[in-house]
């Protein structure tokens, strides 16, 4: 089946982002297809390449990145949510006159239309967090 996931919660203060990752991994192992993962609200914070998790904790950012690389996943970060949280690609860094882009490799900033499309074309849409 074709799935899309919405990830809402802060990856630092809630288990939810990590549950979403485990679920996505299992979906793929079971032979399902992931059309898109859409990060919204504080969920976008996982796409900040400045993140430096303690060595004895899971690095959720690199987990998503390697899953995306292996399975060619479409990881879309809500642009409005990201910009106000300081997660910027080159374009947005320039637009808002910030020195550096910090969007992690493998993620892409885009609008809520990408969420609408994901809902439209997926057999199942599962929200992690609300």
């Amino acid at each position: 089946m074709k799935f899309s996931l919405i990830v809402h919660a802060s990856p630092f203060s809630a288990q939810t982002s990590s549950t979403a990752y485990r679920y996505a991994k299992c979906l793929l192992e079971e032979g399902h297809q992931i059309f898109r993962i859409f990060y919204y609200g504080d969920g976008v914070l996982v796409a900040n390449q400045q993140i430096a998790p303690p060595q004895d904790e899971t690095n959720l950012l690199s987990s998503w990145q390697s899953l995306a690389k292996t399975h060619n996943l479409d990881l879309v970060v809500c642009i409005a949510a990201a910009v106000k949280r300081g997660v910027l690609d080159d374009n947005e860094a320039q637009r808002y006159d910030k020195e550096n882009a910090n969007l992690a490799l493998g993620f892409e900033l885009s609008g809520l239309g990408q969420l609408a499309e994901a809902i439209a074309v997926s057999d199942r849409v599962i929200t992690f967090g609300n």
Partner: protein, 121 residues
């Protein structure tokens, strides 16, 4: 390219205290722009979003009530609350900022069934 899948957005969060209420409206408006039929259900604390006479100036925040008033311009007119929830907070339809459709709590299941996709905020 986009199917006209219908969406039910369930709102269970109060306004102002968290950003959920606004995020929910942003998704509702976007889906509507993409011509997907959108219904909104306000339950539990979500019902508080609809209380009238909101005046958030001292919080330097946008008036949620005003954003809700824009819904008809986006063709979002299926707005539901339950009689039980309204009664449980001791308010009446006169206390609400926008017109709503009152349903019974046990009609929520069919509202979910009638729509193709459900999001919760």
């Amino acid at each position: 390219m986009i199917d006209k899948k219908s969406i039910l957005i369930i709102n269970q969060s109060a306004p102002y205290g968290s950003s959920k209420a606004r995020e929910s409206l942003d998704v509702a408006l976007t889906c509507s722009i993409f011509e997907m039929p959108v219904s909104l259900l306000f339950i539990g604390d979500g019902l508080y979003q609809l209380i009238n006479n909101q005046s958030p100036d001292a919080l330097s925040m946008k008036k949620h009530e005003a954003m809700l008033s824009a819904l008809p311009m986006y063709d979002i007119e299926n707005i539901y609350i339950t009689e039980e929830d309204l009664e449980s907070i001791g308010l009446t339809e006169n206390d609400l900022a926008i017109p709503v459709t009152l349903i019974q709590r046990d009609a929520i299941a069919s509202l979910i069934q009638q729509n193709d996709s459900v999001l919760t905020f």
